[in-house]
């Protein structure tokens, strides 16, 4: 279980996360929704160690992550797919995938081969284009590649930062449904940050609503989706 307790992350005097607490249960999809500037990306960046919290704690089961390095957090089984389909465009598709599993090469070479085969089965288009530079992929394919890079590290917790951002609705829906299937079939724990609340709440088990760095609602996804007053107050529709 991922437990966030009284987490504060601030930039100069602005508190991007203002004492946030919530939990994400193992094997389920928890989605964090909220308007622009609510602190969603900062939350994921803090969990991954890219931003340092000024107080509070982040634990994954019994493991304290709060002051670990970015690399150590990945090695503990927590992988992030950062915002904006982050792939390395000058490297080939295959190299981007290889990169994600590189740190396990010496300890689990056999499993790495299997994991690579699995992501190619999940996204056959990537296998077709494996020798092309990642920069030549479409937005949707790039997002698939970014997810594949995270998956070959065999994460137990997958952090997704707005995977549908900038994608055609059909492609976005396809990617979200693949993540959903992955979670249901492998027991992967997913923390999904989305601006598109409808899409996210449709697949998630639990919803966290952030506004200006604070948790304003922590509800089962179905209840959150049904609560029109919450939507009107915080998401503006």
């Amino acid at each position: 279980m991922l437990a966030i307790t009284n987490l504060v992350t601030q930039f100069a005097s602005i508190k991007a996360l203002d004492s946030i607490s919530f939990q994400a249960k193992p094997g389920l999809i928890t989605t964090v929704i909220g308007a622009n500037g609510a602190g969603k990306s900062t939350l994921l960046r803090t969990i991954s160690g890219l931003e340092r919290p000024s107080s509070g704690s982040i634990t994954w089961f019994d493991e304290e992550l709060t002051h670990k390095s970015v690399e150590a957090i990945v090695r503990s089984g927590i992988s992030q797919v950062p915002e904006g389909h982050a792939v390395i465009s000058q490297l080939s598709v295959a190299e981007n995938i290889e990169l994600g599993g590189l740190f396990r090469k010496r300890i689990a070479r056999g499993d790495l081969t299997i994991a690579t085969k699995e992501v190619y089965e999940l996204f056959p288009i990537l296998h077709e284009r494996r020798n092309e530079p990642a920069g030549s992929l479409s937005g949707g394919e790039r997002q698939m590649l970014a997810i594949s890079r995270a998956l070959v590290s065999r994460p137990k917790l997958l952090l997704l930062d707005e995977p549908s951002l900038g994608l055609a609705p059909l492609i976005a829906a396809q990617i979200i449904s693949i993540i959903n299937e992955l979670c249901r079939s492998t027991g992967l724990t997913v923390l999904l940050v989305e601006q598109n609340a409808n899409t996210a709440l449709a697949v998630a088990d639990h919803g966290i609503l952030l506004a200006l760095g604070k948790v304003v609602a922590d509800l089962p996804a179905k209840e959150m989706a049904a609560d029109s007053s919450l939507r009107a107050a915080y998401l503006g529709y």
């Binding site: 991954s48 890219l50 970015v70 690399e71 990945v74 090695r75 992988s79 992030q80 950062p82 982050a86 792939v87 390395i88 465009s89 000058q90 490297l91 190299e95 290889e98 990169l99 994600g100 590189l102 740190f103 396990r104 090469k105 920069g135 890079r149 995270a150 590290s153």
Partner: protein, 303 residues
């Protein structure tokens, strides 16, 4: 021997060394984003170490090897001892601006250059001394005509060629090579892939240290060794790196050879005093025609 062939052979041998210097610069530029002005200072220092060992009756080859190892150690030391502490201070107001973050390491590298020159002065009195070559510098003969290329030139070209092949294999075929390319291109995504970008960067400094140390060992039999002999080499190597495209390893090597030919042809067909003007003119021309370098790629921007 026609003047053309003379210029060609000497250009190839010179170009091989420029390629090595340029390669060393590009390695650090790509892995750490720093133009390392101390590079030839490091080369000078490790060549002095080799020279000292040879004076103390070590064999040429053991001195050669120890110089390369010292080159790697010195490169890693510069990163661990200076560059990393300098750039990792998050709370420094000065480092908050991007331009200062890129300028400070360059200034620091100039400082290291000064320190290394001073140390060479203290340890070896800054004396100019010869440095042996492992191969007799006699001209190669085909029948009765002697070519404008010596056995030592062939040794230089061979060594540089081998280095380039090994570097290419390292970068394109090994996991560590992939990690180095990835760290240079996108440190954040690389860290999020579980790779220790800091260690990878230190390795880049170490490999660059080996390349420059090798350049020092290969150039000093011709120029003699003093704290200042290798300064010119840095200027030419830097020009070669810019001409080739600072971000491309292959381009840096190509740039080195092109510079070798430019200098050598100007030497033969014009006069040695015109070499500097030719380098400058060539650099300007290259920057006008292809500012991203011969093999450098333009910034890719997603839309």
């Amino acid at each position: 021997m026609t003047p053309f062939l003379t210029a060609f052979f000497s250009g190839t041998a010179q170009g091989a060394i420029y390629a090595l210097v340029s390669l060393g610069l590009v390695l650090v530029w790509r892995s750490a984003g720093v133009v390392n002005f101390a590079q030839m200072g490091q080369a000078m220092f490790t060549t002095y170490i080799a020279s000292q060992l040879i004076q103390n009756n070590y064999s040429y080859w053991s001195a050669f090897l120890i110089a390369l190892i010292s080159g790697a150690a010195l490169g890693a030391l510069v990163d661990l001892g200076l560059m990393r502490p300098l750039t990792s201070r998050k709370n420094s107001q000065l480092l908050n601006s991007q331009s200062m973050r890129t300028t400070i390491p360059v200034i620091a590298s100039l400082g290291i250059l000064g320190v290394l020159k001073a140390l060479a002065g203290i340890f070896w009195a800054g004396e100019e001394r010869g440095f042996p070559s492992p191969v007799a510098p006699n001209a190669i003969k085909i029948g009765d005509t002697s070519l404008a290329i010596t056995g030592f030139d062939l040794f230089v070209i061979g060594t540089v060629f081998l280095t380039l092949v090994l570097t290419t294999i390292f970068f394109t075929k090994t996991g560590m090579g992939l990690a180095m390319r990835a760290s240079a291109l996108n440190p954040e995504v690389t860290r999020l892939s579980g790779i220790k970008v800091g260690s990878v960067r230190t390795l880049g400094w170490a490999i660059s240290g080996i390349a420059s140390s090798l350049a020092g060992l290969l150039v000093t039999p011709r120029t003699n060794l003093s704290p200042n002999t290798l300064d010119l080499l840095l200027i030419i190597g830097f020009t070669a790196a810019v001409v080739g495209g600072l971000s491309s390893l292959a381009g840096s090597v190509l740039g080195g050879f092109i510079l070798g030919y430019v200098i050598s042809f100007v030497n033969v067909y014009s006069a040695p005093e015109n070499v500097f003007i030719a380098i400058l003119a060539f650099l300007l021309l290259a920057l006008f025609l292809r500012p991203q370098g011969i093999l450098g790629s333009k910034e890719v921007r997603s839309v």
